[in-house]
C-alpha cells in the first residue's frame, strides 16, 4: 500500500465515522405516544385524527391543534406551528414528526396520507354531482338558526 492510499483510507474512515454519528443524532424512529413520551426524542408517529374533538387553526399564533390517536389507541393533543395541511379532513391517517413535551405532541411536520394523492381512491362515484357536494363537519342530524 502506498502512503496516498493510506491517507485516502483514513480520510474515508473519518468521514464514515462522522456520518455515523450524524446519523445517530438525526435519526427519527417510527414510534407511538407511549414510547415517544418515554424517550423524549423526536419521533414519527402515525395515527388518526379524533374528529369528535375537533381541530382548530389559530391564525394569530399560526398554530394548528387537534387530537390524534396512535395505533395503540392512545390519544394526545397535537400542536403544529403552521396551517392546517391540505386534505386533512379526508385523510384516513396522519403522519407527524415531533417531540412529546408536557403531554402535547409538538410537531414540526404533518403529512396527510391521502388515498387520492396520486392514485384515485378505490371508491367510485357514479353521479358527478356527489363530487361537488360540500360536507358539513357537524355530526348532528340537523342544524338550524
Amino acid at each position: 500500500m502506498k502512503p496516498k492510499h493510506i491517507v485516502a483510507l483514513v480520510v474515508a474512515l473519518v468521514f464514515i465515522g462522522v456520518a455515523a454519528f450524524t446519523l445517530v443524532d438525526n435519526k427519527i424512529d417510527y414510534s407511538d405516544f407511549q414510547n415517544a413520551q418515554h424517550t423524549g426524542k423526536r419521533a414519527q408517529i402515525s395515527g388518526t385524527w379524533v374528529k369528535e374533538k375537533g381541530a382548530h387553526y389559530d391564525a394569530k399564533a399560526n398554530q394548528f391543534t387537534f387530537v390524534m390517536k396512535d395505533h395503540k389507541g392512545i390519544e394526545m393533543p397535537v400542536s403544529y406551528s403552521g396551517m392546517k395541511p391540505n386534505n386533512f379532513e379526508m385523510a384516513p391517517s396522519v403522519v407527524c414528526v415531533g417531540k412529546v413535551e408536557g403531554g402535547t405532541f409538538a410537531v414540526t411536520d404533518i403529512q396527510t396520507k391521502c388515498p387520492s394523492r396520486y392514485e384515485g381512491s378505490g371508491k367510485m362515484q357514479t353521479s358527478p354531482s356527489e363530487n361537488a357536494a360540500p360536507q358539513s363537519d357537524q355530526p348532528t342530524s340537523s342544524s338550524m338558526y
Binding site: 496516498k4 435519526k27 427519527i28 384515485g120 338558526y145
Partner: protein, 874 residues
C-alpha cells in the same frame, strides 16, 4: 383495445429483439435484419399505444379508468397532456416512449460503432421490462373492469375526477418528461458497459458512450432543477428542496453519473480505473431502478409526499424481479470478468489532475452515500432529519469546490508546485477579497464562510482559465464580401439567430425572468420580432453582416464547474440570509415587515371565473411602491372543498425574491360565540360569569309548526352564575330564537343577566333528534358597557425574502449548458474516431484480410484532430 394489443405486440417484439440480438452477438449475423425488424415493431407498438392513450385523454373517454381517475373536462390542453404521466401506468408509458425514441437513434449509432448487437440486446430488455409493467397494469382498463360491481358494464361517467390542483401547473408539463428522459438516457451507458464487459472491450466503450452519459447528466440535472423550481413556485413553503425521498431518488443516479464522468476522463487519459468506471455506470442505472422501486412500490407511503399509492402485489413483485435481474445479472457478469479487468493504468503523481478527479469522484460518491442512507431509512422504519443531509454536505461541498478549482489548475500526470501556485494567483487573491467582503458584511459562521470561500475559489479559477481558453476562440467581424448564392442563406441565418437571440434576451431581462409574464410578453411582442427580423435580414443582405466564430469545444468543463460554484453560492446565501415572517393584515392597514424594511398593505381580493381568489397586497420599500403581490387561495372539488389550496406569489428581482403565501382569511373581534353541549359550561366576561347550558325547550306544537313549514320558536334554558361574589345563586335564564321561514332568518331574543350589563343570546341550535343528549347550542354574549370591537376580516400571510435565489437556478442552468458543450464535443470525437476507423477498416478489407472483420475496428483514444473535426462540422 388497440392500445392493449399494441402493448402486447411491443412486449412480444421486444423479447424477440432481445433473443435475436443475443444470437447475432453470438455470431448469427444473418439474423440482424430480423432483430432490427423486431426492434422497430416494438417501438411502433409503444408509439401506437401512447397515441391511443393521448387520444383517449384528449377526447375525454371517461369509460377508460385512467382517463376517469386523472382527468376532467375542465383541464386545459397542456394540463390534459400532463395527465398522460400523472400516475403509475402513464409514467411507465412515458418512460417507454422515451426509451423507444432513444432506441431509434441508438441503433444506428451503435451499429456504426460495431456495438449494435450487444447494446441493443441490453437496451431492448429494458423496453421489454417496461412493456411487462404496462401489460400488468394497463392504462387501458375500462372503468367497469377496474371497479367490478360498482359500475355497470358500458357505464360512461359524465366527468372525470380531475388532476390534483398542486399538479395543475405548467412546470409539471416539462418536469416529469425531463426526469424520465434522463432516466431513459442513463440506460445507454448501462447497455454500453455491459456490452463492453461481454465483448471484453474495457476501454473503447467509454469514449463511445461518453456523449450519451453527458447527455443523460445534462437532462437529469435539468429535470431535477425543474422539480425544485416547481416546488418553489407552487407549494408555498418558500423552499425548493426538502430532501424528500422521491427528490433524493432522482438525485442518486445523477450524483453517481457525475462521479463517473470524472473517473472516465481519467481512464481515457491513463487507461486505469477500468473496474471503477464499469461499476459506476452499472450503479447509476441500478439506482434509477431502485428509485422507481421506492416510489412505485408504495414502500415510502408514510415518508414522502410524492410516492404513489400501493399498486398491488403483482406490480410490486414485478418491480422486485426487475430489480434482481437488472442489478443481479450485471453484478455476476462483472465478477466473472473481475480478474480479466486487472489493468494497471499509467502512474501519476500525487499533485496531478488525476488525483483531483479521483478526490472529486470520491466526494460525489460520499454525497450519494449520505443521500442513499437517508433515503433508504424508511425501509427499516426510520427516517432522518434534514440536518443529517445538510450537516454532512458541508465538508462535502467544501472539498468538492476545492478540487473543482484545483483539478483545472493541475496538469495531467504531474504538476509543478510553483507553476500551479502561479496559476492560482488570481483565484487566490479573488477568494481572499471576496471572503473578507463576506466577513465584513456579517457572515461569521465558519461553516458558511468555508463553503463560500471554496465556492469563490472554484468560480474564480474557472472564470480565469475558461476565459483564457475562450479568448482566442471567438471573434466578430463585419463582412461585406460579394454576395454569392450560398452567402445569402448565411446572411438570412445570421439575421434569424441574432433577432431571436436578442429579442428573447430582452424579454427575459424585461420580465425579470417571470415565467408567466415572459410567456405573455412573447405572445404580445412576437409580431414585432418578425418586423425586426425583416429589417435585420434586409440590412444584412444589402449592406453586409456580422460573422461570429464561437468555438465552445473545450469550454464544457469550465462552464459546468462555474455553474456548480454559482449554484453553491446561491444555496449558501439563500440558506443563510432568507427571512420569513407571518403577517396578519387588515384591509388598507399598512403592516411593517422585516423591521420596517418593507411595508405591506392588503388592498382587496379578486376572484376569477374558476373561483380562484387572489389577495392583492401592495408591497413598498422605504422609497415607495415596488410591486403588487397576489397570492392565491382556492377551494377545489378535488378534496371536496374542505381546505384551501394555496399558491404563492413571487416578486422577482435580480438580487432577491419577495415571496408571499396566503394561509387564510379569518375574523377578529365581533361578539364572542361558543358552542356548548348539554350541562357544559364556559367562563365568559373575563372569567366573571359562568354560563351553563341546561336543556332545550322544543315543545311538540312548535315541532309540528316546523314540519308544517311555518315559523317556529325554540327555547334553551341556561344557568348564569356570577363568580365574583360568593352569595350569588345561579340565575336561570330562558333564551329563545324564532325561526322565520318566510325571510329565511332567525330572530334572537336578547336576554340581560339581571343586575349586570351582560347580554346573552342563543345564536344557533343544533338538536340531535336521534341522541338528544348530544344536542348543542351556540351562545353569543357581550358586555353592553364594554362592547366588543366590530367584527373585521384579516388575512394571514407568510412573507419571505430570498436573497440571490436566482443564483441557484442560474448555476444549474449554466451547469446544464456546460454539459451540453461537453456532450457535443465528445459526440464529435466519437464520430471522428469511428470515421477514421472506418477508413482504416476499408483499407484493411481491400487488402483482403479476413481477420479484420472478426475484430472490428479499433477505436483510437486520442481523436481530437482539429483537421478532422472541421471536416466533421462542415
Amino acid at each position: 383495445m388497440i392500445g392493449s394489443i399494441a402493448m402486447a405486440i411491443t412486449l412480444t417484439a421486444a423479447l424477440a429483439a432481445v433473443l435475436l440480438y443475443t444470437l447475432v452477438a453470438r455470431g448469427r449475423g444473418e439474423l440482424l435484419t430480423a432483430a432490427r425488424t423486431a426492434t422497430h415493431t416494438a417501438i411502433l407498438g409503444v408509439f401506437t399505444s401512447a397515441g391511443v392513450l393521448l387520444y383517449y385523454i384528449f377526447n375525454h373517454h371517461f369509460e377508460i379508468n385512467y382517463v376517469y381517475e386523472h382527468t376532467a373536462l375542465s383541464l386545459s390542453k397542456p394540463l390534459l397532456f400532463s395527465t398522460f404521466y400523472a400516475s403509475q401506468e402513464g409514467s411507465f408509458m412515458l418512460w417507454a416512449v422515451w426509451t423507444s425514441l432513444i432506441a431509434i437513434f441508438l441503433m444506428t449509432y451503435a451499429a456504426r460503432q460495431r456495438y449494435e448487437a450487444h447494446v441493443m440486446a441490453v437496451f431492448m430488455s429494458i423496453l421489454a421490462f417496461l412493456a411487462i409493467m404496462l401489460v400488468a397494469k394497463s392504462p387501458f382498463q375500462t372503468i367497469y373492469s377496474a371497479h367490478p360491481g360498482e359500475a355497470p358494464a358500458g357505464f360512461i361517467p359524465l366527468d372525470g375526477k380531475g388532476l390534483n390542483p398542486t399538479l395543475q401547473n405548467l412546470w409539471i408539463v416539462i418536469h416529469p418528461p425531463m426526469l424520465f428522459l434522463g432516466f431513459s438516457l442513463l440506460a445507454v451507458p448501462f447497455a454500453f458497459a455491459i456490452a463492453g464487459l461481454l465483448k471484453r472491450d474495457y476501454q473503447g466503450w467509454i469514449s463511445t458512450s461518453m456523449p450519451w452519459t453527458l447527455g443523460a447528466a445534462m437532462v437529469l440535472g435539468f429535470g431535477i432543477m425543474l422539480g425544485g423550481f416547481w416546488a418553489y413556485e407552487t407549494l408555498g413553503w418558500g423552499g425548493y428542496w426538502g430532501w424528500d425521498p422521491v427528490e433524493n431518488a432522482s438525485l442518486l443516479p445523477w450524483l453517481i453519473t457525475l462521479a463517473g464522468v470524472h473517473t472516465m476522463l481519467t481512464q481515457r487519459r491513463t487507461g486505469g480505473l477500468v473496474r471503477t468506471n464499469i461499476a459506476m455506470t452499472l450503479l447509476a442505472y441500478a439506482l434509477v431502478l431502485y428509485a422507481s422501486y421506492l416510489t412505485r412500490s408504495g414502500i415510502l407511503g408514510d415518508a414522502s409526499v410524492h410516492s404513489f399509492a400501493d399498486p398491488g402485489n403483482l406490480v410490486t413483485a414485478l418491480l422486485e424481479v426487475a430489480l434482481v435481474v437488472f442489478i443481479g445479472a450485471p453484478i455476476v457478469l462483472f465478477f466473472t470478468r473481475w480478474k480479466h479487468m486487472r489493468i494497471i493504468g499509467q502512474d501519476y503523481k500525487l499533485l496531478s489532475r488525476e488525483t483531483a478527479l479521483a478526490i472529486g469522484a470520491a466526494v460525489l460518491g460520499a454525497s450519494a452515500l449520505v443521500v442513499f442512507i437517508g433515503t433508504s431509512a424508511p425501509l427499516v422504519s426510520k427516517k432522518v432529519d434534514n440536518d443529517f443531509y445538510n450537516n454532512l454536505h458541508i465538508p462535502i461541498a467544501i472539498v468538492l469546490m476545492l478540487v473543482n478549482g484545483l483539478s483545472l489548475l493541475l496538469k495531467w500526470k504531474q504538476s509543478n508546485t510553483q507553476e500551479m501556485l502561479k496559476r492560482a494567483g488570481f483565484a487566490f487573491v479573488g477568494t481572499v477579497i471576496a471572503s473578507i467582503a463576506a466577513f465584513a458584511f456579517g457572515l461569521r459562521d465558519p461553516k458558511f464562510l468555508g463553503m463560500l470561500a471554496a465556492a469563490f475559489f472554484a468560480l474564480f479559477v474557472n472564470l480565469e482559465i475558461g476565459w483564457q481558453v475562450f479568448k482566442g476562440k471567438w471573434s466578430v467581424e463585419f463582412s461585406r464580401e460579394a454576395v454569392s448564392k450560398l452567402d445569402y442563406w448565411k446572411r438570412v441565418r445570421t439575421g434569424i439567430w441574432l433577432t431571436f437571440g436578442v429579442s428573447i434576451l430582452a424579454l427575459l431581462v424585461g420580465t425579470a425572468g417571470d415565467y408567466n409574464l415572459f410567456a405573455n410578453a412573447i405572445v404580445e411582442y412576437g409580431p414585432y420580432a418578425l418586423i425586426l427580423l425583416a429589417i435585420a435580414i434586409s440590412l444584412f443582405v444589402t449592406l453586409g453582416y456580422p460573422r461570429f466564430t464561437f468555438d465552445t469545444k473545450f469550454l464544457g468543463a469550465y462552464v459546468a464547474h462555474m455553474g456548480v460554484a454559482i449554484f453553491l453560492i446561491g444555496v449558501i446565501v439563500t440558506a443563510r440570509y432568507s427571512k420569513h415572517e407571518i403577517e396578519h393584515m387588515y384591509m388598507n392597514e399598512p403592516v411593517k415587515a422585516f423591521g420596517g424594511q418593507y411595508t405591506l398593505t392588503w388592498k382587496g381580493a379578486t376572484t376569477s371565473e374558476v373561483d380562484h381568489t387572489n389577495f392583492i397586497i401592495d408591497v413598498a420599500d422605504k422609497k415607495g411602491h415596488i410591486g403588487t403581490a397576489a397570492p392565491l387561495m382556492y377551494l377545489s372539488d378535488f378534496n371536496k372543498r374542505q381546505s384551501p389550496f394555496i399558491n404563492p406569489s413571487i416578486l422577482k428581482y435580480a438580487s432577491k425574491d419577495l415571496y408571499f403565501t396566503c394561509y387564510g382569511v379569518d375574523m377578529s373581534g365581533g361578539v364572542p360565540r361558543d358552542t356548548l353541549g348539554k350541562m357544559q359550561s364556559i367562563k365568559a366576561f373575563d372569567g366573571k360569569e359562568e354560563i351553563k347550558f341546561i336543556d332545550f325547550d322544543f315543545p311538540d306544537e312548535e315541532k309540528q309548526k316546523m314540519r308544517a313549514q311555518q315559523d317556529f320558536r325554540v327555547k334553551a334554558t341556561v344557568e348564569a352564575r356570577l363568580l365574583t361574589t360568593d352569595t350569588a345563586r345561579p340565575q336561570v335564564l330562558t333564551l329563545s330564537v324564532v325561526r322565520n321561514l318566510a325571510s329565511d332568518s332567525a330572530v334572537e331574543a336578547d336576554v340581560v343577566i339581571p343586575g349586570t350589563s351582560y347580554h346573552v343570546q342563543l345564536a344557533q341550535l343544533m338538536p340531535n333528534m336521534t341522541a338528544p343528549a348530544k344536542s348543542r347550542v351556540v351562545l353569543r354574549y357581550f358586555d353592553a358597557k364594554n362592547p366588543p370591537p366590530a367584527e373585521r376580516e384579516f388575512i394571514t400571510v407568510e412573507a419571505f425574502v430570498k436573497p440571490y435565489i436566482n443564483f441557484v437556478w442560474a448555476g444549474i442552468l449554466i451547469l446544464v449548458v456546460g454539459f451540453g458543450f461537453s456532450m457535443f464535443r465528445r459526440r464529435r470525437e466519437a464520430l471522428v474516431a469511428i470515421e477514421r476507423a472506418e477508413v482504416q477498416y476499408a483499407r484493411l478489407t481491400s487488402h483482403a484480410s479476413p481477420l479484420a472483420e472478426a475484430h472490428g475496428p479499433v477505436v483510437s483514444q486520442k481523436t481530437s484532430s482539429s483537421k478532422l473535426t472541421k471536416k466533421q462540422r462542415g
